[in-house]
Structures are given as structure tokens and as C-alpha cells.
Subunit: 155 residues, 2 copies
């Protein structure tokens, strides 16, 4: 289709279309996906998915934990985290039990099989950094940049 001069001029006023290669959102989306893919060879021998890995990292920082607290830390709704915890329980890595002091709360603990994964799970972060040729400072700087974005509330 032949375009008139006026149309071409109008077009030059709108942002220049570069495709996705110039988009921060696409870079983030791609980086998050590649990061999850990178974890797979480390997680597979431990029998963990990426979501289960995040839960285990939190549990290694301290147990027992309520489902509510884990959800807050992991930024997951109860409907998201509960099936993950159930699968970890079936796999024998955690226990789920009603809090005897407050029946509304479910407490999560590590089993000895779960605890046995501690060193391997905690080592993954460094293995990933070295695969990405990032030193600890580079990784922390990037993490801080991501977390410090002024994320507006979306709900």
C-alpha cells in the first residue's frame, strides 16, 4: 500500500516500532524463563520443580512455618502454594499439620528427607551464578535493581 507524505509524517511522530527486541518487558519475560530453564538440570536430580525449590529455600531459612507466612514471602496466593506443599508432602520432603494452638493455621516442617537436600539446594544459587558468569555482587546488584523498581499496586 502506497502511503501519502502526510501519513508518513504522522507515523514518524509515534514511537518507532522496533519489535520486541527493545522492550524491557520482553527482556524480563525471557530472562525469567531462561533462569527457570537453567535451574532444571540442578533441580531434576533432587526431584524438585522450580516452585518447590523456592519453597524449600524458604523452609531452610527456618521452620516451622505457617502456610500464610510462606505465601507472603513467596508472593503466592494460598491456592497456588497449597498444591505445591501437598506435592512436597507426598514426596516425603515436608509435613503439614494443624497448629495445636490455633486450628486455623497449618504448620509446615521439613522431614529428614527434606532436610537432607539442604546443602544441594543452597549450592544451586552459586552454580547458576557461575553458569551465567555473574559474580555475587553482579547478581545482588541486578536483584536490587529488579526489587527496587517502583512496582505500582496491580490489584
Amino acid at each position: 500500500m502506497k502511503k501519502s507524505i502526510t501519513e508518513l509524517e504522522d507515523k514518524s511522530l509515534s514511537p518507532h516500532p522496533m519489535g520486541v527486541s527493545n522492550e524491557l518487558s520482553f527482556a524480563l519475560y525471557g530472562a525469567a524463563n531462561r533462569m527457570m530453564q537453567l535451574h532444571k538440570p540442578f533441580l531434576k536430580p533432587l526431584g524438585l520443580t522450580f516452585s518447590q525449590y523456592l519453597v524449600m529455600l524458604e523452609l531452610f531459612a527456618g521452620t516451622p512455618r505457617t502456610v500464610g507466612d510462606l505465601g507472603t514471602r513467596l508472593n503466592m496466593e494460598t491456592g497456588t502454594i497449597t498444591p505445591i506443599l501437598k506435592r512436597l508432602e507426598i514426596a516425603g520432603k515436608v509435613t503439614r499439620a494443624r497448629d495445636v494452638e490455633d486450628e486455623r493455621r497449618v504448620l509446615i516442617n521439613l522431614t529428614s528427607a527434606g532436610e537432607a537436600l539442604r546443602d544441594d539446594v543452597l549450592a544451586i544459587s552459586g552454580q547458576i551464578r557461575s553458569a551465567c558468569k555473574l559474580d555475587q555482587k553482579g547478581a545482588m546488584d541486578l536483584k536490587d535493581t529488579l526489587n527496587d523498581l517502583a512496582w505500582p499496586a496491580t490489584h
Copy 2:
């Protein structure tokens, strides 16, 4: 469980468990999710999902495009991009047609209804930056940092 001194000393040699708050992978995963959530109020009035938005961005950079080229640019397998393109076709925003010069290729073009979304779609990136209080340089620097990570091949 009471721990022996030896056990405690051993523990201090392994990386300190900080939970997910210290993990680059968790920050990336969270940032990518929040970024997609942020797009929703801008995309909903245009009738686009985030994946469809990425495809439209690519199409605004130039048409006609082959499915293979779009997949390469968007880092999507054919099995991922084809259903997205089919839905955009049903919505009347793109056309899909066999290349008359090479029957193995499917060419994607914008319809006039798709073309009519150009200015609104191209404006979203700036609206998101301003919602995140990022200037263009800040966004580009972060994008470059993400893209420049030494992503090892995962297949």
C-alpha cells in the same frame, strides 16, 4: 533437636540460608510476573493478552512475516506461537496465509483492525515505564543487563 558443636561448625561452612528474598532467580520471576500484571489494564481495552501484545509489537516492526521468523524473534516454539496467531486471526487482527512462493511457509499480515491498534500498542511501553518511575535510559540499561547475561544453552 540439639546439635553438636561439629554440626554447627559444618553448617556455618555452607551458604547462609536467607530464604528467597536474596535470590536473583526469585527477583526475576517476581519482576516478570509483576511486569505482566502491570500490562493488563493497558491490554484489556485492546482485547490483547500479553503474548498477543508481544506478537503485535513484532508485526508493527514490519509485515508480512513468516511464522518461523516471528517464533525466532519472540523465542517461541511453533507449537506456542501458532495458537496465539490463530486467536489473533479469529479476533480479526491478523491474517494467516500460505506463501504462494513457498507452500511450507505461513505468512502473517496485519488486518486494518490490527493496524488500527498500532498507536495504542506502541504507547504502552512508555506508560509502563512511567508507572514504574523508570526513564528510558533506566529501562534500556536494565534490559541490556538482562540480555547481556551469559545465558548458557539449556538444550
